[in-house]
Amino acid sequence: MSGHVSPKTVSYTIFASLMVLTGITVAVAFINLGPLNFPVALSIAIVKATLVILFFMHVKYSSRLTKLVVATGFFFLLILFTLTMTDYLSRGWLTYPVGAGAPPAATQAH
């Protein structure tokens, strides 16, 4: 059948890599990187997820159509995050002309 059979060594190598990355993410959490702690933790998680998707879930060996569907899913997730954050984070940037009344409550909440 068409399904890709991964050699056992690939599975063990991916497992070992995931374990090492888990160790790194815990260790890095205790090192003060300032504002970089969050992006670093997120990047390691993305690398781990990518390894699982490509090798454990066989997407590396799947058809181009399957690859496209997988990529589309994460692309839309990115749209969800990006558009929502550009909205919320830019709300405080608005300036209100004198006499226009108080800004809406949402901009004062925090």
């Binding site: 090192i31 997120l42 699982v52 454990f56």
Partner: protein, 225 residues
């Protein structure tokens, strides 16, 4: 008689598991994989809404996020990460055993996957019980010492919503694997047809991926500062 036999042979292997709408087993397998991924994409968006809420509140209340995160046990969360990634390994080996035609090994690897999934859930129950004991469950009985109590309550609400939804997926996966293990035990699968094993595997790995994000986002916030 011999004519019909050769006609059947020239039509290719006609496996009992080949549904009439597909031409070949390859096409059937491809459709199953694609369909499963379409489902998993809806799951990505399903969890994505919670991750979105997490991200926004984290940007708004960084101090409360740090306070809330310190209430979580890194050791238990870390052990569960290792357990769950280990279960992904045993799941991958179960799929491989089914592909290569080793039903006994398939059953054993599936049972190992379920056992690890069970360990994860038991640890989760202990974590939840501890939170109940400390009155750290959001709601009327919520108690938290500190300047950001209300905002820590939001963090813990998201903690319970996200890990709870994840745990629900684990329970569903556990049920799914028990059916698949039974089918493997009954020798239902062969190197020609093992789609249910592979599709359950995709689901199980997806649940693992969700935890790969939950662990650093919930347990490892701002530990260094």
């Amino acid at each position: 008689m011999s004519d019909s036999a050769s006609a059947e042979a020239s039509a290719g292997r006609h496996h009992a598991a080949l549904q009439h709408q597909f031409d070949t087993m390859e096409q059937q397998q491809e459709s199953a994989t694609l369909g499963m991924w379409v489902f998993l994409v809806t799951e990505v968006m399903f969890f994505g809404g919670l991750f979105m809420a997490y991200l926004l509140y984290r940007v708004w209340y960084p101090a409360a996020w740090a306070d809330g995160s310190r209430e979580l046990d890194i050791l238990l969360g870390g052990v569960n990460t290792v357990v769950l990634i280990g279960s992904s390994l045993t799941m991958a080996l179960a799929v491989r055993a089914a592909q290569t035609g080793f039903p006994r090994a398939t059953v054993n690897w599936l049972l190992a996957t379920m056992a690890l999934g069970g360990v994860f859930l038991v640890i989760k129950v202990f974590e939840y019980a501890h939170k109940v004991e400390l009155n750290h469950v959001p709601g009327p009985n919520f108690v938290f010492e500190g300047p950001h109590a209300r905002q820590v309550e939001i963090f813990l609400s998201l903690y319970f919503a996200m890990t709870g939804l994840h745990a629900l997926h684990m329970v569903i996966g556990f049920g799914l694997l028990s059916v698949i293990a039974w089918m493997a035990y009954k020798r239902k699968f062969s190197p020609e047809w093992y789609a249910p094993v592979e599709m359950s595997g995709l689901y199980w790995h997806f649940v693992d991926i969700v935890w790969i994000f939950l662990f650093p986002l919930l347990y490892l916030v701002d530990r260094a500062h």
